[in-house]
């Protein structure tokens, strides 16, 4: 069976789909067209790498955290409601 030709896709169309491409959320023909475009377009390839990097960094558990003061006060209203003077700290 003859292979389906890959349709060319322009840079703007690539930028519109780069997030879905990273998430693997594209129809196969669009994914293949984008993969081919990335091979031939340094700018779009740079955008893909950078965006992938952002997703990885933002999703890393170390990137964002509760400020330590806020973490220790998080149960303040619950403690007050339950008539506790201080949240019990559990060691895990």
């Amino acid at each position: 069976m003859a292979k389906k030709p890959i349709v060319e896709i322009d840079c703007r169309a690539v930028w519109r789909q780069v997030s879905n491409y990273i998430d693997g959320d594209l129809a196969e023909d669009v994914r293949a067209a984008m993969a081919l475009h990335f091979k031939n377009c340094a700018h779009c390839s740079a955008i893909l790498d950078g965006t992938r990097n952002v997703v990885k960094l933002v999703g890393d558990g170390k990137a964002f955290d509760i400020p330590s003061g806020a973490r220790s006060r998080l149960y303040g209203k619950l403690d007050e409601h339950l008539g506790r003077t201080r949240s019990k700290k559990r060691v895990h």
């Binding site: 930028w15 965006t51 964002f64 400020p67």
Partner: protein, 213 residues
């Protein structure tokens, strides 16, 4: 500090214990979701003090409403939804949304293409680079610089790893809109971080801020 998530059956056991009056169990139930609760509040309020206040309130509300929690939803989704509702109520109460809506109309429309501002060639930044306070600070500033609807979607989807469907439900928008906003949010974050990307993040050098956030 990453905390291990509880297995669903363990969560069910804790919920049952809370309902039977074992209050300590509620703290154990919430602990793995502390960051998610805070970040969900922050994504709407963009202010640490306000996010802390709302997080406290959401935890209390969740405790009071635990009897109404149905096992169909995940506990994390449920408590984050409570948090986001509290955050929105605080915004309305503070009437801040009146000012934010002006910003919303000026920037960050969903229609039209977002044109990336920078074509710098990125190389992968290893996780160890996040030990750098400067990189973490740049990420936090980048997140804070996003228009609210993009900040919310990237927090729910990429920071908290909710699915597209869960994110859509939390924000009261369609899945297609989640994807459009997520695209913009990710590209904007990339542009916000690009000034540091001359290799400085990897090599631990000072970087010069080329563009404002």
């Amino acid at each position: 500090m990453a905390t291990m998530r509880l297995q669903p059956d363990m969560e069910a056991v804790l919920i049952d214990r809370v309902r039977r009056g074992e209050h300590d169990a509620f703290y154990d139930l919430v602990r793995p979701h502390e960051r998610g609760i805070f970040m969900a509040a922050f994504s709407i309020l963009n202010n640490e003090a306000d996010a802390e206040e709302v997080a406290q309130e959401a935890i209390l509300k969740a405790f009071k409403a635990i009897g109404k929690f149905r096992g169909e939803a995940k506990f994390s989704t449920w408590i984050i939804q409570i948090t986001m509702n509290e955050a929105r109520m605080k915004l309305r109460k503070d009437r801040r949304h009146l000012y934010e809506s002006l910003d919303e109309s000026r920037k960050g429309e969903d229609d039209g293409d977002y044109i990336p501002k920078d074509f710098a060639d990125w190389r992968e930044i290893p996780s160890e680079a996040l030990d750098s306070a400067r990189l973490r600070s740049a990420l936090q500033k980048g997140l804070a610089s996003l228009p609210p609807k993009y900040r919310q979607v990237i927090v729910l989807r990429d920071v908290e790893n909710l699915s597209i469907a869960e994110t859509a439900e939390m924000m009261g928008i369609t899945e297609a809109t989640v994807k459009t906003r997520l695209l913009r949010a990710r590209l904007m974050m990339r542009d916000a971080l690009a000034p540091g990307y001359d290799g400085a993040w990897r090599k631990g050098r000072e970087y010069e801020k080329v563009r404002p956030f």
